[in-house]
């Protein structure tokens, strides 16, 4: 029950994004990946569920190398993984409730009534109760984001990948989402990767930190270790001091 990223390389049209990134989310822990905008955090997460294939290196989930799986096996693996997209990626052609129910209809043998109950429960968890019949286009950015989280957790996956789950939310909702992430890990034993720019929220949910910088893992360690590190790149990032980053390189 772990996600191991080994020597991951990825370039787009000759532009190198990942250049040997290595990191590991161990069984039951929540790993927070930090990194500047455009550093390749979303790209990394997409490799974990096989939406992108590595140029070199590999991602192992549950002991299986994602890029070696046949399509059918990949779909079996994806059933165990919930993915919260950075921009929610809700299906605009269907209601919120149907969005959340999509995974359940495909992946479980629940009947209509059970699915309805689960959908309501998930919408309640992200503070969107009563929003089921709405269309995604009628929601605010933050509401869409939360709906995306509800959709990802609906099937109670063993792994959850959150791409900036709290960006654009107000402080109260943000704290609520952090608690939800913590609950997923404590109650369901979820192994999670959280990408975030939000340092407060990162410290609330992280068991361990990793920092992606120039395509590689610049730092990996516990919250205590990251607080005490003297790596100027990491310090500059978490303290929001660009001058440290510039002097480093």
């Amino acid at each position: 029950m772990s996600i191991v990223i080994r020597d991951l390389h990825k370039a787009f049209d000759g532009k190198v994004v990942l250049d040997g990134f290595e990191v590991e989310a161990r069984d039951g822990e929540t790993l927070v990946i930090l990194g500047g905008s455009g550093s390749g955090k979303s790209v990394t997460l997409k490799h974990v569920v096989g939406l992108l294939t590595p140029d070199k290196g590999q991602v192992e989930v549950d002991g299986e190398v994602v890029s070696d799986l046949r399509r059918e096996e990949l779909f079996v693996l994806r059933r165990k993984v919930g993915y919260v997209f950075q921009f929610a990626a809700l299906f605009d052609s269907m209601s919120l409730a149907d969005n959340v129910a999509m995974g359940l209809r495909r992946q479980s043998d629940m009947d209509r009534k059970e699915i309805e109950e689960r959908v309501e429960e998930c919408l309640r968890l992200v503070d969107l109760d009563g929003f089921g019949p709405r269309a995604p286009s009628e929601l605010s950015g933050g509401q869409r984001k939360r709906a995306g989280i509800a959709r990802a957790i609906a099937t109670r996956p063993q792994y959850l990948l959150y791409d900036e789950p709290t960006t654009g939310l107000d402080p109260v909702t943000r704290a609520m989402i952090d608690q939800l992430i913590l609950r997923m890990s404590s109650e369901l034993g979820v192994t999670g990767i959280v990408i975030t720019h939000d340092i407060d929220s990162a410290f609330r949910v992280a068991d361990r930190f990793a920092m992606l910088h120039e395509g590689r893992c610049r730092f990996q360690g516990t919250p205590e270790e990251i607080r005490e590190t003297d790596d100027p790149v990491v310090r500059g990032f978490i303290e929001g001091r660009p001058e440290l980053l510039e002097n480093a390189s």
């Binding site: 779909f75 994806r78 993984v81 919930g82 921009f87 990626a89 999509m102 995974g103 495909r106």
Partner: protein, 260 residues
């Protein structure tokens, strides 16, 4: 000097390479669509809604075109034949032309603008907003979920819409003939049946089915390969319409060569 002479050939070569690559990727998507047919549980319940959409999108425009084509055909036939040829040949011309050529082709072209554009815009938007990725993560094979129902719906609906268009076109030609050309219904029907072959209908439906297949797969192809936001969606939509219109005309000639 040599550059001026060679440049057009170089860009033609490049264009041909791109075209070949495009056809290759379209072929791959089409092959995957055939393979995805086995996920019946995924696409079956989406088929009827898609058929309804294709119908709603296309029937009004197709019938509108057929109506006026029928009227014009009838008038032009009588104008062309003045005196030299018996008037009942108006019926021959309207019937044959609607069935063999204008019914299928005009309907196909109209639908490439409606159905093809719609598919490309919808799938393109889903691509750039990561909805197609989201389908993948929820373990839905996107081709089975998005492409199969659209392609099947078009294959089924294009011949139906085309048949309706042919009927409306011929009816319009007949009404024009008896109202404006001093022909009798008997004369018109006589002309209509004179050279009629059951194969004409088969031919029309083969064309319409192949047009439906091409419009849908081309729309899906450009939608699926959309890149870069709203602008990319606009590009894909335009290209889907242009390419499928051209393919319809080429295919039309192909069937004429091979089947007639």
């Amino acid at each position: 000097m040599t550059r001026i002479l060679s440049q057009p050939f170089i860009s033609m070569g490049r264009g041909a390479t791109l075209l070949a690559a495009g056809i290759g990727r379209w072929g791959m998507l089409t092959a995957e669509t055939v393979r995805a047919l086995r996920h019946v549980d995924v696409w079956l319940r989406l088929l009827v809604p898609q058929m309804a959409r294709v119908g709603v999108d296309s029937v009004p425009i197709a019938l509108f075109i057929a109506l006026f084509t029928g009227i014009v055909l009838s008038l032009q036939a009588s104008y062309t034949f003045t005196g030299a040829i018996p008037l009942y040949f108006v019926g021959v011309l309207v019937g044959k032309t609607m069935m063999l050529e204008l019914g299928p082709v005009l309907t196909g072209l109209a639908l490439s603008g409606r159905v093809g554009a719609n598919i490309a815009a919808e799938l393109g938007t889903m691509r750039v907003t990561e909805q197609i990725d989201a389908l993948e993560t929820l373990a839905y094979p996107p081709v089975a979920y998005l492409v199969v129902p659209r392609v099947l719906a078009s294959i089924i609906m294009f011949p139906i819409v085309t048949a309706l268009a042919i009927a409306v076109g011929i009816a319009a030609g007949w009404i024009t003939a008896i109202q404006l050309l001093d022909m009798s219904t008997a004369e018109f029907v006589n002309g209509l049946t004179l050279f009629f072959l059951p194969f004409d209908v088969t031919y029309a439906l083969i064309k319409a089915t192949s047009f439906g297949f091409m419009v849908a797969t081309i729309g899906c192809f450009f939608g699926f390969h959309t890149r870069g936001g709203a602008e990319g969606v606009g590009h894909s939509t335009t290209r889907a319409v242009v390419v499928s219109s051209m393919v319809i005309l080429v295919l039309d000639a192909f069937w004429a060569v091979t089947l007639l």
